[in-house]
Symmetry: C2
Subunit: 736 residues, 2 copies
């Protein structure tokens, strides 16, 4: 196949632009002025002025200079690749690209030779070593690197280093450029695109890093084939590459299939390569591509944070990650420069640094000259799937800023290999804290003693399993029996939602595939009444088989109250044998439950109560993590486990209440007790349902639902010789 012939059908304008780019530049010799990728030569004078005038840009430059100065002082060390993540050679090669990147930028601003010399001399060291390297000795996964145990790290190295090279390009002699390009950059590109191109062509964040590195290298080296491979895959047919990645990995809303943790990570190569394309192939109008999905994705990932800026840790995720990361600096800066969207400013200000580029200049100027509006986290439905038709997420939010409570309801696609079997789970946050958490991943990022920081075995045996999540488990098995391919093939369905009602926010979603012969539907309604916030949670299961049902509710905080007797166990009982159950120790048990069982806990300044409608056969357990964990790979985590008796069709009603206030400064405590006295679930004809919640103050909350979801104009249900009627999916009544 002749790689110069494009077989994938792109808009003509793109082809023209590429062709002209190809024709204009002979291989290996750029005719443009460097730097040209992100920081551009013509922008330097304005940036130099901006550093004097705008605090954020000034601070960022000073930080870059400090890194570069320290690096120059430390000297050039390019160790032979030896160690896994967290080890010396691994961390040193990471430090080297950071150092070169910063030295390159500082050279452009200061034009002091020493910075360029540092980058040049280090690249000359790399070019000596690289051609002789085989695959990394500590390689573990299917895509190893040479400098690093993972090819991924090598792609990241290239994304940074090619920018450093771009910045000092003019300073380096043609002879040295040839050495560096031939022995280092082209060899590395060849490794990615020829020797082991599985990752490069993959529709996955690793692929995005790889294509960004190669594509940007192509721009600096003036190699149009590299650029085309980066855009269209090594086959040049659009089966992979950057554009296809944009097509496939984001939903039309800008949600990234792997979830926010990886969206945060992947956003960096998406942003940098897009900016480089914008600067060098402007006709591609990359930021307009797919209805501006790259800009949407940045707004989306910012929305996917709790009030403390942490990303919601669904799927494989490190829970400490916030929007203050280097990746997110590129995201806010580049998209702000494109769109001027003031919603980006709040996060950018918190980040406390900007890019040293015209993007960073614009943002620093704006923050210096105008008040920054508070970032508003909104309730929303996020559609998943490349067409936005494969389920999604719902964000239900009450209150503002620090006083916001949020519920994330997940009915999204599996999210590839980092996805969890967590169909219809929800997590809850309040006052900046995780209250009903997702465990995230079992991994100690880059901690040598913990398998070099890789995902631990417990990530599969626990973190991904259904029982590790706040959702229904049938017969002690995980969704799709824990099989990734089956889970990838199906996604849940959004049944209905209404987030516009000022009285309550409601979402209902179903999954028909995660368990055989069963349809699971979950409806969540979130509303506030006299300062208390209620989340009504109704599972409605249609099941052809008889199943045992478990509903885990993990919680952070201290248990303070129960309305039923329970026994804290004095022997060692493990909850089950597999699918995550083998990791749960039973800490307490109760079986003689009232029809409305109530448990309260506190966390920080808040109080929380779960009220659960039970059957006579329902058991309640307190469980904690730690069984079959000989190496302490799992964190401590307590949970409540409602175990319902075996049945076919089933409805499970739970109400979570956010209430009260503990003020350790003034020592005043308000509303530390839950308000729900009793609950009833009344089933009408044709799957109409009336949820009746009796409060201790004598009032009743009634939520009327049409579980047939016909959205008909006249629903009716009888209760206590009264008739209740409503139109549409739901109605909320507060009765005194």
């Amino acid at each position: 196949m002749n790689k110069r012939i494009l077989t994938y059908s792109f808009p003509i304008i793109v082809l023209l632009s590429l062709v002209s780019c190809t024709q204009a530049k002979p291989k290996s010799e750029g005719n443009k002025e460097h730097p040209l990728l992100i920081l551009r030569k013509n922008d330097v004078p304005e940036i130099q002025k901006g550093i004097k005038n705008f605090p954020l840009l000034h601070a960022s430059f000073e930080e870059a200079k400090e890194i570069a100065d320290k690096a120059i002082e430390s000297g050039i060390i390019v160790p032979f690749p030896k160690d896994p993540g967290g080890g010396y050679s691994h961390e040193k090669h990471k430090q080297n690209y950071i150092d070169m990147y910063n030295a390159g930028l500082v050279y452009q601003i200061t034009k002091e030779d020493k910075y360029a010399i540092f980058v040049r001399d280090m690249l000359l060291e790399y070019q000596k070593m690289y051609p002789g390297l085989g695959l990394h000795p500590m390689r573990k996964n299917q895509s190893p690197g040479k400098l690093f145990w993972q090819g991924l790290n090598e792609s990241v190295w290239l994304v940074y280093t090619i920018q450093a090279y771009d910045c000092v390009y003019d300073f380096i002699s043609p002879e040295n450029r040839k050495l560096i390009e031939d022995n280092l950059f082209r060899k590395m590109v060849n490794f990615f695109t020829v020797e082991d191109n599985y990752t490069f062509n993959r529709l996955h964040n690793h692929g995005t890093w790889s294509v960004a590195g190669v594509g940007m290298t192509g721009m600096v080296l003036g190699d149009s084939l590299m650029i085309k491979e980066a855009l269209y895959s090594t086959k040049l047919d659009g089966s992979g590459g950057f554009l296809r990645q944009i097509d496939e990995l984001f939903s039309p809303d800008g949600y990234y299939a792997e979830g926010p943790y990886y969206q945060r990570y992947a956003i960096m190569p998406f942003m940098l390569f897009a900016q480089a394309i914008q600067n060098n192939l402007p006709d591609l109008k990359i930021f307009d591509y797919r209805d501006s999905v790259l800009a949407k994705s940045v707004n989306m990932v910012l929305q996917l944070t709790n009030t403390d800026g942490r990303f919601y840790p669904i799927n494989d995720a490190i829970k400490e990650k916030t929007w203050i990361t280097p990746e997110m600096v590129y995201a806010t800066n580049i998209i702000y420069a494109q769109t001027g969207d003031k919603n980006l400013l709040f996060a950018a200000e918190k980040q406390g640094e900007v890019m040293i580029s015209s993007e960073g200049l614009k943002l620093a100027k704006s923050i210096a000259e105008n008040p920054v509006p508070e970032f508003v986290r909104k309730s929303m439905i996020i559609h998943d799937g490349k067409d936005g038709k494969e389920g999604g997420l719902a964000l239900l939010r009450l209150g503002k800023a620090e006083n916001q409570s949020s519920v994330l309801f997940k009915f999204a696609t599996q999210g590839m290999g980092h996805g969890h079997f967590d169909r219809l789970e929800f997590i809850m946050y309040d006052k900046g804290r995780e209250i009903i958490p997702d465990y995230g991943s079992a991994r100690f990022l880059n901690v040598v003693a913990k398998e070099g920081g890789r995902y631990l075995d417990e990530n599969n045996s626990w973190s991904k399993q259904t029982v590790a999540h706040n959702t229904l488990v049938l017969d002690e098995k995980s969704d799709f029996n824990g099989k990734l391919d089956k889970a990838e093939a199906h996604s849940p369905d959004l049944i209905f939602s209404d987030l516009e009602n000022s009285k309550l926010q409601i979402v209902s979603a179903s999954d028909s595939n995660c368990y055989p012969d069963a349809v699971l539907n979950r409806t969540l309604a979130f509303f506030e009444l006299d300062g208390r916030r209620y989340l009504v949670d109704l599972f409605n299961v249609k099941n052809k088989n008889i199943s045992r049902y478990d509903l885990p509710v993990y919680f952070n905080g201290e248990l303070i109250d129960f309305n039923f007797p329970y026994n804290r166990l004095t022997d060692y009982q493990i909850l089950g044998k597999g699918n995550g159950y083998q990791h749960l120790i039973v800490d307490a048990k109760a079986s003689d439950l009232p029809s409305t069982a109530r448990i309260s806990w506190m966390n920080g300044k808040g109080f929380y109560t779960l009220s659960s409608l039970t059957d006579p056969g329902t058991e309640f357990n307190i469980v904690r993590l730690g069984a079959n964990d000989p190496k302490y790979n799992l964190r401590d985590q307590y949970g409540m486990m409602l175990r319902f008796p075996k049945m076919k069709d089933a409805k499970f009603l739970n109400v979570y209440e956010i209430h009260g206030n503990y003020n350790p400064s003034s020592e005043s405590v308000l509303q530390s007790e839950g308000s729900v006295k009793n609950m009833e679930l009344i089933q009408g004809l044709d799957d109409k349902v009336l949820i009746n919640i009796e409060l201790k103050d004598g009032r009743f909350i009634k939520l009327l639902l049409d579980l047939n979801y016909k959205n008909s104009s006249s629903n009716e249900i009888q209760y206590n010789e009264k008739s209740f009627s409503w139109s549409g999916n739901y109605k909320l009544l507060i009765e005194n």
Copy 2:
């Protein structure tokens, strides 16, 4: 006894002042202008101006006004006393004094009648109810109240309310004043000083609240007997009362015997009553009293915080308490007004509010007009005991601000009933976090479901016990066998300390009484080497009996590495039968230990390693809290438990290392592994000791100690055919 005759020998000037005060004012009729206690009539115009000019004062006034306006809108409700802490009537009476206090202040600033009317009318309600009240129905302890279940709350009520009354005094008609004074204030004072004066005369923080309330009431009502009783006890002989409290409850350094949590609490009545004395009995020069110990106490309690502003939670303590509390606002404001000490400004600025008084005005002005210097937490020895000779605390600190690590070493007095049996314990903080924690108290403050927020039974059975602390336990018993009276009778001794050496900070202390026939000595040396911080911890025990030795080391964080095999248990084992051991579950066990056993854990951004010198018979356990805790009254807490074989005299060497950095934003991890390879303890003649710590990089840290503590000029010890000599208590060597 004629109460008008003073038998306690105070400086003449005090007597004269009191006499003149007494003579000048007929009982029940002040001849001074009101308000006179804290906010004074003559200061009001300047404060009114200051509210316009100084942001902190402005914000504080606005907040007071908001509280007062809301209170007026809500109307006056004075419920019959019924509920325990956290319950409605309890919280309402607390809210009422807050509301009246704020309304009183706002009346003085605005002169709007509605605020005075609110206070007057509420006091009229109280005076109707109070005379008919018996002891509170929910009373539990030996000093109940009438409005509240504890007399303590009633004293606090009076301290606030008398200030409110003072503020609106002029507004209320003489007839109503008589009703309020006779039926409410005099009745309450009579309750404190006659009906049940145990607390009033006690040298204890409850006593301070009581005398402050009564003394301030005396000033407002012009009743000199009340004032004298407050100053000298109801016997007027100085056996109790405010001055004796200042004499006895503070060490000369300003340390308060109960520890920082209660120091923070007690500081409010000390400050307010002192300020009221300064304003009304200035000749008493109360702030100069005892070499200005009140000012010292404020500086001291600020020093007794971690970098995040939390008080070190030794003894009974709620761990959430920071220096941002209403009590600490009075402390910083009043002492700043007296001393102008700029060290107080940092905390005051963090507090974000000031008193509405001339003190608050001064502070708000200073913060508005001058840069606020960072508060510097220093290494220091804090002497305990009224003469400063009863042991104390050592604060060892390395690094600055957020990067500070601190070690608190406790060899203080018992600290009365809220003291713990924790002789020679230490706790460690790093990067703002508790790393090796003190449990604090077993109590959910004001949480109704948890015994109304009182101290729980587990406070005695766990929190106070020696095994709950990071110190040596002999034969599974607590210090003094857990007997308070014996513990109160003895205190440890500071043996030597040197905090001035820039290379290391060292403290040594001994206790000869906590276990029979044994002398326990602990030496802690804290120093930094190439970015790692080391705490060398040597116990030296002289014991006439054969004892079993346990050393618990509680830790917060995730275990990541061990250099020895261990078994995580799969059965339920409780560590012991009593003295706190009954609450510990054995989670993992190891007995085949290397001579230097090493365990690492991580917490937040830091890594921590314990290296322990073991004997062949040493056992290592991981323990966790939760046994014999049927109501979940105890929080989760993991610990390491070193169990040494039975012996008489013994030395135990442990090294704690603070190392590395985990950066979740950049994902870079540095130095996640401990540096200690091997340790030796070489005993020379006459209790000379050489501690030899071999590092993985080939260097050796040698710490030479004279455990005879003769501080002689020539100590010598032989090791590896080399002779090491030093003068004084210690010498540190780093050998390459």
